[in-house]
């Protein structure tokens, strides 16, 4: 039997206590001091050295793990909450500064990912928000017509261009009298530029609108009136409403203080009295106008017709009733064997759900939204997996740091929380840079995609909120995997340098992640290359004629004026020849039966 050795016994006792749980060196020394006092006590009482030591240990220790737990509990409060958070933030900043190039790479990838995600979300939100400004939109419909097996987004007058003011007015009144219809509106928009004269200025203005249902036009769409009186616009014909932008163009930035109500607006040979100023048409409206004119007769073969139904009415039934009453609404259509009926379309579905003839703005396509959303999701996944892989590799060298923290009592949750916080801090640091880059890129994006995202992108909290939410989400998702991988690694493996648990062993989470990342990347690059080649083909294909050196001029004139125009142009030495034809880009119509 081995002789009892106090130093050996003490060393064994210290080692045992340490394996049961973390203890600070000072606490262990104090326990040892008490243990030795008890050992002396039992030696004096007559116990053997081994026996005295055994009893002393029994009276000193609280039980396996309980001693370290008691010390941890005694000192646990006061370093939670704000105290720990401050420490984590300091640690996070220190680690971000230590590995500059790695973190810069991560930062750039995160910023690009956040910008792309924000753009995709903004674009999808914009495209799906068309006409959401319309009050009581559930009951509002556009009336088109099926004619010659083709859908028209507008309706013709009974005598087309020859329809009198009374005939046009009578037609819309008959429509409004159909059971279930609360209100009917008709107007026509003219995209081509026309010269307007007001306030001693003559300016070309596009998107003039003519209506002979002025009060219903204002009530249906709910256009906010900034100056003037809706009743004045409706009371008498030959009155005009300017939009805010047009008011600024003709009367300057201080148009509000200018007495423009009642001033004359001349178009060609007709004078209109300015009755008020409307707010600019929202960019996400399915049509646009700059000046609204109240005229008794719309100068066109047809008009845009809209109807507000009474609450609870079935639009299909109302459509049938309109067709049953076509004899009084439009005798020409009623007698046309090629007329296929009225098309009732909810106004809010027009942008993404309608592609009829003569749409006022190019319609959207919901399939493109799905594609863009899917691509945005892929880029988001690439951003997250890229950060995850870089982070796991980067933090492999912090094994001892994590091990020491675990020895001193840090829980798995605290370790994971620190790494999550570092990921979120890096992600949030991207927000101001992403905002700056978005501010630069949005106008170019609007030109590319035909949107108006920049209009109010940074005026409200929505964009900032979106950037913060996307950044937080990317930071949490990207930081979750490395945080929990590193937190769950055992202390011993950490000190041996093993932080990548599944390295070289079978199929693990990281291998799946890297493989998925490269599959997505290769797929996305291939698609981009394919689309780019298609675009190049579209833009550069030889169409069989020379496109350079041709000037296209839209001449809205009869043939006699064209002859004069042609002869004058031919006098220019630079002009070789002059030809004429139908307007470019016109949609085919009256071609199908």
């Amino acid at each position: 039997m081995l002789a009892f050795n106090l130093d050996t016994a003490l060393a064994d006792w210290r080692r045992t206590l340490q394996t049961e749980g973390p203890l600070e060196p000072g606490d262990l020394d104090e326990l040892e001091s008490g243990l030795l006092d008890r050992y002396d006590e039992f030696l004096l009482k007559g116990s053997t050295e081994a026996e005295a030591f055994r009893i002393a240990v029994g009276k000193t220790n609280a039980g396996p793990g309980a001693t370290s737990k008691a010390f941890a509990t005694a000192t646990a409060t006061g370093r939670s909450g704000a105290g720990l958070l401050g420490g984590y933030l300091t640690l996070a900043w220190r680690n971000l500064s230590a590995r500059r190039w790695f973190n810069l790479l991560n930062f750039c990838c995160l910023t690009l990912g956040i910008i792309t995600t924000a753009l995709v979300v903004g674009y999808l939100n914009y495209e799906t928000s068309y006409d959401d400004f319309l009050p009581e939109a559930d009951n509002k419909y556009r009336l088109g017509m099926l004619l010659r097996s083709q859908g028209y987004s507008m309706r013709s007058f009974a005598d087309f261009n020859s329809a009198t003011a009374a005939e046009q007015q009578g037609s819309i009144e008959e429509l409004a009298a159909v059971q279930g219809v609360k209100r009917a509106v008709q107007f026509m928009d003219f995209a081509a530029a026309t010269r307007l004269r007001a306030n001693d200025k003559e300016l070309a203005t596009e998107n003039l609108l003519q209506t002979n249902t002025p009060d219903d036009f204002l009530a249906f769409f709910g256009w906010p009136m900034l100056l003037g009186n809706p009743a004045a616009f409706a009371a008498a014909p030959n009155t005009a409403l300017l939009t805010e932008s047009e008011a600024e163009r003709f009367f300057g930035d201080d148009w509000r203080s200018t007495d423009l109500i009642g001033q004359a607006l001349r178009i060609d040979t007709t004078d209109y009295s300015i009755a008020g100023v409307l707010a600019d048409v929202p960019p996400n409206a399915h049509f646009d106008f700059s000046v609204a004119l109240h005229r008794p007769q719309i100068e066109y073969w047809g008009a845009r017709v809209y109807a507000e139904l009474l609450p609870g009415e079935d639009p299909t039934e109302v459509g049938k009733r309109i067709d049953e009453n076509m004899g009084t609404i439009n005798t020409s259509l009623a007698g046309d064997e090629l007329y296929g009926g009225t098309i009732l379309q909810p106004v809010q579905s027009l942008h993404l759900g309608s592609d009829l003839l003569y749409e006022m703005k190019p319609p959207g396509d919901v399939r493109y939204l799905y594609i863009i959303g899917f691509i945005g999701l892929i880029i988001l996944l690439l951003t997250i997996s890229n950060y995850t892989n870089l982070s796991v590799a980067m933090n492999a060298g912090r094994a001892r740091e994590i091990g020491m923290r675990k020895v001193f009592g840090a829980t798995d949750g605290q370790i994971a929380g620190q790494f999550l916080l570092e990921a979120v801090v890096l992600s949030l640091l991207c927000v101001p840079v992403a905002a700056g880059l978005l501010w630069w890129w949005l106008p170019r994006f609007d030109v590319l995609m035909g949107t108006a995202l920049q209009a109010d992108a940074f005026s409200g909290l929505s964009t900032w909120g979106l950037l913060l939410v996307v950044s937080l989400m990317v930071g949490l998702l990207a930081g979750a995997y490395p945080a929990f991988i590193l937190a769950r690694t055992q202390v011993q493996r950490l000190f041996e340098g093993h932080t990548l648990r599944d390295a070289g062993r079978g199929i693990g989470g990281r291998k799946v992640l890297i493989t998925a990342q490269f599959v997505l990347l290769i797929g996305l690059c291939s698609l981009t290359l394919f689309v780019n080649r298609q675009l190049n083909y579209l833009q550069n294909k030889d169409l069989g004629y020379v496109r350079e050196g041709i000037l296209y001029v839209s001449v809205n004139a009869d043939s006699s004026r064209f002859a004069t125009f042609r002869s004058e142009i031919l006098r220019l030495p630079e002009v070789e020849s002059v030809g004429s034809g139908t307007p470019m880009g016109a949609q085919s119509y009256n071609q199908t039966t």
Partner: protein, 116 residues
């Protein structure tokens, strides 16, 4: 045997009371309390030392390491001014509760009488 709850509640004022008499160390505090309580209170080192650590963090006591003549290290504790104020407050509370119990338990009532 004193309950855990009562032991826990009384530990701090008992330690402060012992230290008020003079500087002391963990093992001797345990033995003094054991002797004064007639064996009713038997603290373990693992119970007392964390309490001493917390009291030191709360600035009720201070500590210093002393090298004994046998070459061992021993941690001595001393009460602070804050500790004395806390002890005075604890003493007032305990005496108040003690007076209440004394009044309640002084006169025997009918339920204490054994009837045959």
């Amino acid at each position: 045997m004193i309950t855990k709850a009562l032991t826990a509640a009384s530990t701090k004022p008992l330690v402060l009371s012992v230290l008020k008499k003079g500087e002391n160390y963990g093992y001797r505090i345990i033995k003094e309390i054991e002797a004064l309580s007639g064996g009713d209170l038997q603290w373990t080192d693992a119970m007392l030392y964390p309490v001493l650590k917390r009291m030191e963090r709360d600035q009720l006591i201070t500590s210093r390491w002393v090298q004994t003549d046998r070459g061992r290290k021993r941690k001595y504790y001393e009460i602070t001014t804050t500790g004395r104020e806390q002890l005075a407050a604890d003493r007032a509370e305990w005496l108040s509760v003690n007076r209440l119990f004394a009044r309640l338990w002084a006169a025997p009532d009918a339920s204490d009488l054994i009837t045959e």
